[in-house]
C-alpha cells in the first residue's frame, strides 16, 4: 500500500549518475578545494601537518572558517563544506548548541578552533585532546580498564605514552605551560607532549614566560604566586612547599576567583590525567605513602597527589586534617569498607566475577535498605515468638514511681509515636570517636582521597541534562525557576577537580555540621566547601546493627504494636500501652529516650500524634534529642507551616509539580481545592495530599509486614563489554534474588527486569565514578505459570526480557531483577519439586510433542505439565513428605498413570501401547474388561506389525524408538489418523459382545491421553473426546498434524477426512477464520507436493465444502 517512493519526492534532475545533486555538489567542492590547494601551494610555503585530517567548521570561530579553510589547504588537510559522518573527523566549533550536538551523526571530535591555529603555529600536529570542546572524559574518574581504542593514531600519541615514565612532578610543571600556551600562541615548543625531558632549566624559562603573561591579566599576582610555588616545589625541598602553602592561601583568598584560569589549567592537566589508566602503577605507589603518612611529618606529603591539591588550592586546608593532618588523633581511622577508588585492585565491573558480592559488601544503600527489611522481619519474629509479657513495662512503672509521675491528666485516645534516632550514623559512629563530639562530623564512604581531575565539560553536560529533565517533568514553565533554584543548589556546584569535587554522598551528618548548611545526601565535595573543618568518619555497619537491635529490643519490651520503618526509625502505636500503664505520652517519651540513651548511648527524638503523619511531623519538631506531642487541637495550625516536601509521599517530582501550581507549604495546600489537586495528581495522590495537608492520615500501622517483592538491583559499576558479561551479571542478580527469596521463605511468579539505560545524549563518562549518570529507565516483566525461586529460571526469564528490549548492553548502567506475586514457600514444596524433578523426563517429552499449555510464557515452566506426566517410579520418601491431600492426589495420579504397565508385562512394546490408552478410561472399566482391553491392545500391536496398515509411518518408528523422547513426537499425530486403524482390527477381532467398550475406545483413543497429559491446562469446558484436533489449538501446533496426516498415508482415510471436515466446521463455528485459512493452506501445499490424485480429490471436496460454509457465514470466499 505504500507507494510513495523516495524517487517520487525528487524528480529527475540530471544528477543521477553522480548519486544525486548533493553528492555531485560535494564532489565538486572537494575538487575545487584540491585545485585551490595546489594553487595556493605555489604562492605560499606549505606543509603536510594536517594530512589525513578532515574538518568541518560549525558556527562562528576564531580564526574564521575561511582562515581555517586556507590553513587546511596550505597544510595538506581536507576542509568539508558539508558535514559527512563518514568522512569528517573533526568539527571545529567554539560553541555548539545542544540541538546541533544532537544532530551530529557519527563520532567526530568537536575541537576548538584554537587547535588549528596552534598546530599551524607549532608547525606540527598537536594532540587535539586538550582542545576538545566536548569530550567523553569525566573529570573525577580515573581511566581504568575500559577497553578503549585510542582513535587518534598520530605520532603525537607515542609522545604521550613516553610521558608515562616522566614523574608526575614534571607533569605538574608542564601543565601551567599548556594553560599559558593557549594564551600565548607564539610559543612554539611548549607542548607537554614534546618536551618529555622537562627540566629545571626549562622550568626557569617558563617561569619567566609565565610572569610576562600574567602581568597582562588583572589577577595575575595570585596565579603567578601559585605557579611560582609549583615551580619552586620542584626545585626546593618538598617540605618548604607545604609549609609555604597555607600562607599562600591566606594571602590569596581570591584564588577561587581564578577558577576560569584553573579550569583551563585543568583541561590541560587532563592530558596528564587521561594517562591515569596507564599510570595506575605510579598512582598506587603514591597513594600508599599517602595513607601511611597520617602520623608522619609533612615533608612526606608532596607526592604526586599534590598536584591536585595545588590546583584546588582553596580546598587544601580541608584536605590536610584528613590525610596528612598534624593531629593524627583527630583523624578518623581508615574506613573498614574498602573503597572502590582506593582499592589496589582495579574496580570491578558488573559481569565480572564476584562483582555482586563485592558490590553488596560496599554498597551503603544496600546495607541500609536491607536493615530496614531485616527489622521488619525482626519485629514479625518478635511478635510471633512473644511470650505475652512485657518486661519493659515493669521498668516503666518503677521509673514512674521513682520519679513520682502519675498518669493524671491523660485522657487516653489514639496515640501514635514516631521514634527516630538523631543522625543515626553519626551518633553511632561517635561512640567510637568521643573526641569528635561537638565538631561537625559526617559519615561517608570517601576518605577524601583526591579523585583525579578531569575536564569539566562532561560533568557539566550531565548536570545540564538533569536540569533539563527536571524541567521537562514540570511541564509548565511558570515558576520552574523557583524549583530550579533548589535543584541548582544540588547541581550548581561542580567541583573543578581535586578532592573537593568528590561525588561521594554524605550519608549522615550531625547537627553541628547541619548548622554549616550541610544536609544528608550532599556530595562530599560541596560539603567540604561549606564546612572546611568537617570531619568524616567511616561506616560501621556492625555498630549500626547493634544499636538498631538494641533500639528495637527496648521498644519491643514495652509493646509489639510496632511498625519498623528503617534501622533507626519506627512507628509505635502506644494507645494500649499508655492506657494499660496509665502514662502520659511525654512522660513515656522521657522514659523511652532515657532508656535508649542508656543502652545505646545515642540520642533519639520522639513525636506523638493521633496518626502516623502527625507523629512524624512532631518528631521533626522535636529534633534534635527532644520530644513533642502534637495535640489534636493544634494540628491545623501546626501543619500550616510544614513544607509540602516534608509530607510523606511527596518526593522531588510531586514537590516540583506542586511548586508549579504555586504550592509550597501545607497552608497553600489547604487552600488548594481537592478537585484541582486530583486533576493534577490523580484521584489517589490528590486525595492524600488534601488530607495530609490537614494532618489527616488514614494509614494504619502496618504491624504484620508482608513482603510484596524481592529484588536485587545494581546501578553502580555496570559497564558491560560483551553479552556474556551481561548474562553472567543477570545470573548473579538472579542468584541473589534466589538467596533473598529463600531467606524470606517466599517464591514468586512475576519476574521483572529493570534496566537503566544511558540516556541518548548523556556523556559517556559519568560524573560519579562508575555511576549511572543520566539514564532512561525501562522495566519489563513476565508472569510465570508457576511460582519459583530458582535462580536459573529467573535468570533465563530475565535474560529473555533483556533480549526483548533489544537495547545494546553496552548502554546499560543499572540492572535489577525483581520477583513479585510472592507466595509462601511451604516446606512441602521442596518435596514436591523434588518429586517433580523426578517426573521431569516424561514431562519434557510431553511438552516437546506440542502445545504447551495456553499460557504463552509456559515454555519456561515445565512444572505445570509435569504434574500430569507419568512418573516412572514413585519416590516413597518424597511421598511421605507431602501433606496428606497432595499425597492423595499424587497417589491417585500415579495409579491412573501406572495400571496398564503394572498389570501388563514389562515388555517394551506392551508398555508403549499401554501408554497410549487413556488411563482414566481404563480405570473406569471393570477389572475383567480392563484385562481384556489390555490383552487386546497387545494383540493389536502384534497384528499391526504384520498386517499392512494405513499408517506405516507411525508403526515403524514406534518399533525402532528407543528413546522415548522422539517417540512421543509422532504419536498424537499418528493417533489422529489411527482411529480407523484400530477400529478395523477391532471390528474383526474383538468380541461383539462389548460394543460399548469398543465405541468408547475408538472415541477416546490415546489422543485424549496425550492431550489430557500434555495439555493439562486446556480449558475444562472443552470436551475431551474431541480428538487431537481442537479448536483451541494454536496454528503452529495444528500444522504439523496436518502435514503428518497427508504424509503418512498414500490415500486419505475417510474417517480422517470427516474428522477434518468436522474440525473445520467447528473452527468456523467459533469464527477462527485464520486457522481455517492456515489449515487449508497447509493442506494445499502438502497435497500438491504429494501429487496423488486421490488426495487432490479429497482436498478439493474439502475446500468446496469449507468455502460453502464460509460463504454462508460471511458472504465471502476465503482466500488462503
Amino acid at each position: 500500500m505504500r507507494r510513495a517512493k523516495r524517487e517520487d519526492k525528487f524528480p529527475e534532475n540530471g544528477f543521477e549518475q553522480w548519486g544525486g545533486y548533493m553528492n555531485a555538489k560535494k564532489a565538486k567542492l572537494e575538487e575545487q578545494f584540491k585545485a585551490g590547494a595546489s594553487k595556493e601551494s605555489h604562492l605560499q610555503t606549505t606543509s603536510k601537518i594536517f594530512s589525513g585530517i578532515s574538518v568541518y567548521v560549525n558556527g562562528y570561530t576564531i580564526p574564521t572558517a575561511d582562515e581555517i579553510k586556507m590553513a587546511m589547504m596550505l597544510h595538506g588537510g581536507q576542509f568539508h563544506q558539508y558535514y559527512s559522518a563518514s568522512k569528517t573527523r573533526f568539527i571545529i566549533a567554539s560553541n555548539l548548541a545542544d540541538a546541533k550536538l544532537k544532530k551530529i551523526k557519527g563520532q567526530p571530535k568537536v575541537v576548538k578552533p584554537q587547535w588549528i591555529a596552534d598546530c599551524v603555529a607549532a608547525e606540527k600536529l598537536l594532540d587535539f585532546r586538550p582542545y576538545l570542546l566536548y569530550s567523553n572524559q569525566s573529570k573525577t574518574q580515573p581511566k581504568i580498564q575500559f577497553p578503549q581504542v585510542s582513535e587518534f593514531e598520530s605520532p603525537v600519541n607515542s609522545h604521550r605514552y613516553k610521558k608515562l615514565e616522566i614523574s608526575i612532578g614534571q607533569t605538574l610543571t608542564s601543565t601551567p605551560k599548556v594553560g599559558r600556551k593557549r594564551a600565548a600562541l607564539d610559543t612554539t615548543d611548549k607542548s607537554p607532549f614534546n618536551d618529555s625531558t622537562a627540566s629545571a632549566i626549562s622550568a626557569e624559562e617558563e617561569k619567566v614566560m609565565l610572569e610576562s603573561d600574567d602581568s597582562k591579566s588583572s589577577s595575575s599576582s595570585d596565579f603567578n604566586l601559585f605557579s611560582e610555588l609549583k615551580l619552586n616545589k620542584k626545585k626546593t625541598s618538598p617540605f618548604e612547599v607545604v609549609t609555604n602553602f597555607p600562607d599562600d592561601e591566606e594571602k590569596d583568598p581570591s584564588v577561587s576567583n581564578e577558577e576560569s584560569d584553573f579550569e583551563d589549567l585543568l583541561d590541560c592537566t587532563l592530558v596528564a590525567e587521561e594517562l591515569r589508566a596507564a599510570e595506575q602503577a605510579a598512582l598506587k605507589k603514591t597513594e600508599l605513602p599517602l595513607k601511611e603518612t597520617v602520623t608522619l611529618p609533612k615533608k612526606e606529603t608532596p607526592t604526586p597527589k599534590e598536584d591536585n591539591i595545588f590546583i584546588s588550592t582553596p580546598k587544601v586546608e580541608v584536605k590536610i586534617p584528613q590525610s596528612t593532618a598534624a593531629k593524627p588523633k583527630e583523624t578518623a581511622p581508615p574506613p573498614k569498607e574498602p573503597e572502590p577508588q582506593s582499592k589496589k585492585a582495579p574496580m570491578k565491573r558488573a559481569g565480572e566475577e564476584n562483582f555482586l558480592s563485592e558490590f553488596y559488601s560496599n554498597s551503603r544503600l544496600h546495607h541500609i535498605s536491607t536493615m530496614g527489611t531485616a527489622f521488619k522481619a525482626y519485629v514479625n519474629d518478635l511478635r510471633r515468638n512473644h511470650s505475652g509479657d512485657f518486661p519493659g513495662r515493669q521498668k516503666l512503672l518503677q521509673w514512674k514511681r521513682e520519679a513520682g509521675i502519675d498518669g493524671h491528666g491523660w485522657s487516653g485516645g489514639v496515640v501514635v509515636m514516631h521514634i527516630d534516632m538523631d543522625c543515626f550514623f553519626v551518633s553511632v559512629g561517635l561512640r567510637a570517636h568521643p573526641e569528635l563530639r561537638g565538631q561537625p562530623v559526617a559519615v561517608t564512604h570517601a576518605k577524601g582521597n583526591p579523585p583525579p581531575t578531569a575536564n569539566s565539560s562532561s560533568r557539566e553536560a550531565e548536570f545540564q541534562m538533569y536540569r533539563k529533565r527536571m524541567q521537562n517533568k514540570a511541564g509548565t514553565s511558570k515558576s520552574t525557576e523557583h524549583f530550579a533554584e533548589a535543584l541548582e543548589k544540588r547541581l550548581s556546584w561542580r567541583g573543578d577537580g581535586g578532592e573537593a569535587s568528590s561525588m561521594s554522598e554524605i550519608a549522615s551528618c550531625n547537627y553541628e555540621a547541619r548548622a554549616a548548611g550541610l544536609r544528608n545526601g550532599m556530595f562530599l565535595g560541596e560539603a567540604l566547601r561549606l564546612c572546611p573543618n568537617l570531619k568524616t568518619i567511616a561506616y560501621d555497619f556492625d555498630a549500626y546493627k547493634e544499636v538498631s537491635t538494641a533500639l528495637y529490643d527496648t521498644l519491643a519490651s514495652l509493646t509489639l504494636d510496632i511498625e519498623a520503618v528503617s534501622c533507626d526509625e519506627m512507628f509505635v502505636d502506644c494507645t494500649r500501652l499508655l492506657a494499660e500503664t496509665d502514662t502520659r505520652p511525654l512522660d513515656f517519651a522521657t522514659f523511652v529516650r532515657a532508656e535508649i540513651k542508656k543502652i545505646t548511648g545515642c540520642p533519639a527524638s520522639t513525636g506523638f500524634g493521633a496518626n502516623m503523619l502527625q507523629a512524624r511531623m512532631a518528631t521533626k519538631k522535636a529534633k534534635p534529642d527532644g520530644q513533642f506531642h502534637l495535640l489534636p487541637e493544634d494540628v491545623v495550625e501546626f501543619v500550616k507551616n510544614i513544607k509540602v516536601s516534608d509530607l510523606p509521599g511527596v518526593g522531588r517530582n510531586v514537590a516540583y509539580r506542586l511548586q508549579a501550581i504555586g504550592v509550597q507549604t501545607c497552608n497553600d495546600l489547604q487552600k488548594t481545592s481537592l478537585a484541582l489537586l486530583q486533576e493534577h495528581f490523580g484521584a489517589k495522590v490528590g486525595l492524600s495530599l488534601h488530607k495530609h495537608s490537614r494532618g489527616e492520615d488514614d494509614r494504619k500501622l502496618e504491624l504484620e509486614h508482608v513482603r510484596k517483592s524481592v529484588s536485587a538491583e545494581v546501578n553502580y559499576g555496570v559497564r558491560f563489554s560483551n553479552l556474556a558479561e551481561c548474562r553472567r551479571f543477570v545470573e548473579e542478580l538472579s542468584a541473589e534474588v534466589q538467596r533473598r527469596l529463600e531467606a524470606a521463605e517466599k517464591q514468586g511468579r512475576c519476574v521483572t527486569l529493570k534496566l537503566m539505560v544511558k540516556a541518548k545524549d548523556a556523556p559517556e563518562r559519568t560524573a560519579k565514578f562508575m555511576g549511572h549518570g543520566v539514564c532512561d529507565s525501562f522495566s519489563r516483566s513476565v508472569t510465570l505459570p508457576a511460582e519459583t525461586s530458582d535462580a536459573k529460571i529467573i535468570a533465563r526469564e530475565a535474560m529473555k526480557l533483556v533480549d526483548l528490549l533489544g537495547i545494546n548492553f553496552s548502554l546499560f548502567r543499572g540492572m535489577g531483577v525483581q520477583m513479585s506475586k510472592l507466595s509462601d514457600k511451604k516446606k512441602a514444596d521442596t518435596g514436591m519439586s523434588r518429586f517433580l524433578q523426578k517426573g521431569k523426563p516424561p514431562s519434557s517429552v510431553a511438552s516437546t510433542s506440542r502445545a504447551e499449555p495456553k499460557a504463552s510464557t509456559s515454555r519456561a515452566e515445565p512444572v505445570a505439565s509435569t504434574s500430569r506426566a507419568e512418573p516412572e517410579v514413585l519416590d516413597e520418601a518424597v511421598l511421605a513428605e507431602l501433606p496428606e491431600d497432595i499425597r492423595q492426589e499424587v497417589l491417585r495420579e500415579y495409579k491412573l498413570a501406572r495400571p496398564p504397565s503394572a498389570s501388563s508385562s514389562k515388555s517394551f512394546a506392551a508398555e508403549l501401547t499401554m501408554s497410549q490408552v487413556d488411563p482414566s478410561f481404563l480405570e473406569a472399566l471393570p477389572d475383567d474388561l480392563k484385562r481384556e482391553v489390555v490383552a487386546e491392545l497387545q494383540a493389536s500391536k502384534t497384528r499391526r506389525g504384520d498386517s499392512k496398515l494405513l499408517f506405516p509411518a507411525l508403526t515403524s518408528p514406534r518399533k525402532s524408538k528407543v528413546s522415548p523422547k522422539k517417540k512421543k513426537r509422532g504419536r498424537p499425530i499418528g493417533g489422529a489418523k489411527r482411529k480407523p486403524i484400530i477400529k478395523v482390527p477391532r471390528r474383526e477381532n474383538s468380541p461383539p459382545a462389548k460394543p460399548e467398550v469398543q465405541t468408547k475406545f475408538t472415541h477416546q483413543k490415546y489422543f485424549t491421553i496425550s492431550w489430557s497429559q500434555v495439555v493439562p491446562e486446556v480449558k475444562v469446558e472443552e470436551e475431551k473426546d474431541e480428538g487431537p484436533l481442537q479448536v483451541s489449538m494454536k496454528v503452529e501446533d495444528l500444522l504439523p498434524l496436518i502435514k503428518e496426516w497427508v504424509k503418512s498415508s498414500a490415500e486419505p482415510v475417510e474417517q480422517d477426512t470427516e474428522l477434518m471436515i468436522q474440525f473445520l466446521e467447528k473452527l468456523l463455528l467459533s469464527g477462527k477464520v485464520d486457522k481455517i485459512a492456515a489449515v487449508l493452506r497447509t493442506l494445499k501445499l502438502n497435497v500438491t507436493r504429494k501429487g496423488s490424485a486421490a488426495w487432490r480429490g479429497i482436498f478439493e471436496g474439502l475446500i468446496e465444502k469449507t468455502q460453502h460454509l464460509v460463504f454462508n457465514r460471511y458472504g465471502s470466499k476465503l482466500m488462503f
Partner: protein
C-alpha cells in the same frame, strides 16, 4: 488515547479493546492512505510504532463510534466492528472486519489474562500493520466509514435505554447481506479467555469477470442484523 477516558470505561478489558480499536482504525487509515501522511503523528503502543491522526474532527468521529461500540461491547452485543473503504464512485472496496461475536466481557478478567490480552493485542496490531502485504493498495481518493453491527434485539434495547443519550446518535439501518464475489483474508486473531475475536479483510474481487458490483444483490440469510451506517466522511 482512548484508554485515558477513564470515566467512561470502568472495565479494564473493555478499555483495552476500545483503545486497540482506536489504534487499529488510525493505523488502517494510515496504511490505506486515506489521508496524507502529514496528518499522522508517530506514537508507540505496546512497543509497536503506530500512526495516529490528530485531526479533531476525525478523532471526534472515531471517538463517537467507539463510545457507541463501548456500550454494546459491555453487554456483549457488538457482533462486528467494520472499517469500510469506499472508492470515489461509492463502491466499497475493502472491509476490515473485527468479528466480535464471541467476545464476552461481562466477567472481569484477572490480571494475568489482561497481560496476556495485551500481548495478543500487540501481536494482532503488528499483523495488522503488515497486512498491506496481503492486500493490494486501494486507489487514491477513497473514503472510509466505521460500521457497527449488532442484533435487532440489542438495537431495540438501545433505542429504549439510549433515548437520553443523544450524544452519539447515528443512523442505524437494516443490514444487507452482501453475497457477491469477494474474498475473505484473515489478518489476525486474538484468543484470550473470554475475549476471543478475529480480524479479517473482505476484499472486492479485482478482475471483474462478473457483473459490475454497483449494487449488492440482497440475500437475506437468516439472522436479522442491524447495521449502523455511519456516513460521516471527510
Amino acid at each position: 488515547m482512548f484508554q485515558n477516558n477513564k470515566t467512561s470505561t470502568s472495565d479494564p478489558c473493555t478499555g483495552r479493546l476500545l483503545e486497540f480499536f482506536e489504534i487499529c482504525i488510525n493505523q488502517l487509515l494510515y496504511l490505506n492512505k486515506i489521508y496524507p501522511n502529514g496528518v499522522f503523528t508517530k506514537k508507540q503502543k505496546y512497543g509497536v510504532p503506530i500512526n495516529s491522526c490528530d485531526h479533531p474532527l476525525l478523532r471526534d468521529y472515531v471517538k463517537k463510534c467507539l463510545l457507541t461500540a463501548q456500550d454494546l461491547l459491555k453487554n456483549g452485543e457488538l457482533s462486528k466492528l467494520v472499517v469500510v473503504f469506499i472508492s470515489q464512485d461509492g463502491k466499497p472496496l475493502r472491509r476490515i472486519c473485527f468479528d466480535l461475536e464471541r467476545v464476552q466481557l461481562q466477567a472481569a478478567m484477572c490480571k494475568d489474562n489482561l497481560t496476556r490480552l495485551e500481548l495478543q493485542l500487540r501481536d494482532a496490531l503488528l499483523r495488522l500493520s503488515v497486512c498491506d502485504r496481503q492486500l493490494p493498495p486501494i486507489p487514491e481518493g477513497c473514503t472510509f466509514k466505521i460500521l457497527l453491527e449488532t442484533s435487532e434485539d440489542s438495537y431495540l434495547k438501545m433505542c429504549q435505554s439510549c433515548s437520553t443519550k443523544a450524544q452519539y446518535e447515528f443512523l442505524w439501518v437494516q443490514s444487507k447481506e452482501r453475497s457477491h464475489e469477494n474474498y475473505l483474508v484473515p489478518i489476525s486473531s486474538v484468543e484470550c479467555a473470554n475475549c476471543d475475536f478475529q480480524i479479517f479483510a473482505q476484499e472486492e474481487k479485482k478482475d471483474s469477470d462478473m457483473l459490475s458490483t454497483s449494487d449488492f444483490p440482497n440475500i437475506e440469510a437468516g439472522g436479522s442484523t442491524v447495521l449502523s451506517d455511519v456516513s460521516e466522511e471527510y
